[in-house]
Point group: C2
Chain length 235, copies 2
Amino acid sequence: MTPRRAIVLLSGGLDSSTCLAVARRDGYRTVALTVDYGQRHRAELEAARRIAQALSAEAHRVVAVDLRALGGSALTSDAVDVPKGRDDAEIGTGIPVTYVPARNTVLLAVATAAAEAEEADAVYVGVNALDFSGYPDCRPEFLDAFREVARVGTRRGVEGRPIEFRAPLLHLTKAGIARLALETGVPVGLTLSCYDPPSARAGSSVVHCGRCDACRLRRRGFAEAGLADPTTYAE
Amino acid sequence: MTPRRAIVLLSGGLDSSTCLAVARRDGYRTVALTVDYGQRHRAELEAARRIAQALSAEAHRVVAVDLRALGGSALTSDAVDVPKGRDDAEIGTGIPVTYVPARNTVLLAVATAAAEAEEADAVYVGVNALDFSGYPDCRPEFLDAFREVARVGTRRGVEGRPIEFRAPLLHLTKAGIARLALETGVPVGLTLSCYDPPSARAGSSVVHCGRCDACRLRRRGFAEAGLADPTTYAE
């Protein structure tokens, strides 16, 4: 029997890299899919490329979706600063300025297109409902709604072979994700979670700013899991 | 009271141009949104630009989504030919090779992002369930499923002001759309519906191939409505 194929949304961060390793552990042949939605930092794309290679993805597709033409988020606009130094009580309250309008809707839409084009059976996405940092499109009800869109809106769905959407990190804490990453062989030292990474010298290890929400959640996760994070933090 | 704002998905064809005119008639300030998903022909983008201007859209945003990186459709791949000369019985049976994987899911996802970024209250989309040429993502159940995704997956939805999705052409025939276009003041002579338009000389009028499914449906619509199509057909 031919192994089934999965599209894995891969940003290059810890969560999506863990998804790729889990898809592989689940027996899928994997195609990594990075959606370049106009991130201000290209380091994320570089990290994704290295991780796809390290985890033996069959292919790594990069689809550009230029959301910068729309504005509206600190992650895609030069006019909005990434918040730094928020304490733990502030992270997770309200929707932060790093919210990219409808990001996961766009990511899953492109992944659905990829699944149809590559004849893949499943899509893996690293959304996480617990340490979700306030994004509405990281909740289980969002995923359920999207499954229905893909079922009624695609050739595969109409033909009775709907694409499966798997979110293996949905109910894990960041500590749980750090443990799962280690268990499944993620090259953790290559993963970059930072919203605003300091420029790294060519060839040096991954450097996190240490102050944005993503860095703080990541650091706390490793600390709570009692595991070492092999990447460097600027502060 | 400030007029409400709508995002209108605009390809430059007859249907989406009619949507833009309808949104305006409904009292919305409009932002036209063209998603450039790697069409083989740039004429479509040019047509959209002229129509947005002619129908007084406040802005025309073009978001590139490079689905060519995925392949899988005659409309985005150089490896698949656009079918020509299919008769009316063939059009509308099965899913044609011009199906772009998950196209309307991608279009509505980007429109949702635009609506959030522009603080728009509504999205207009020119999908049509009758003369739909076999695409699963032109059906009412697809739109209903997408409404739910946008309700649970966006900041506006969480805040209790969900984006409205309007598909004013959903249950119209092509003849009905041709009539509505004339009624609402669409500059029909600027609209380009063709999947594979012959090269037009600079400054010349819009030229349709006349043989692809989109041209045949358009032509039949005008004929059935007893209206003249001011564009030219190559054959």
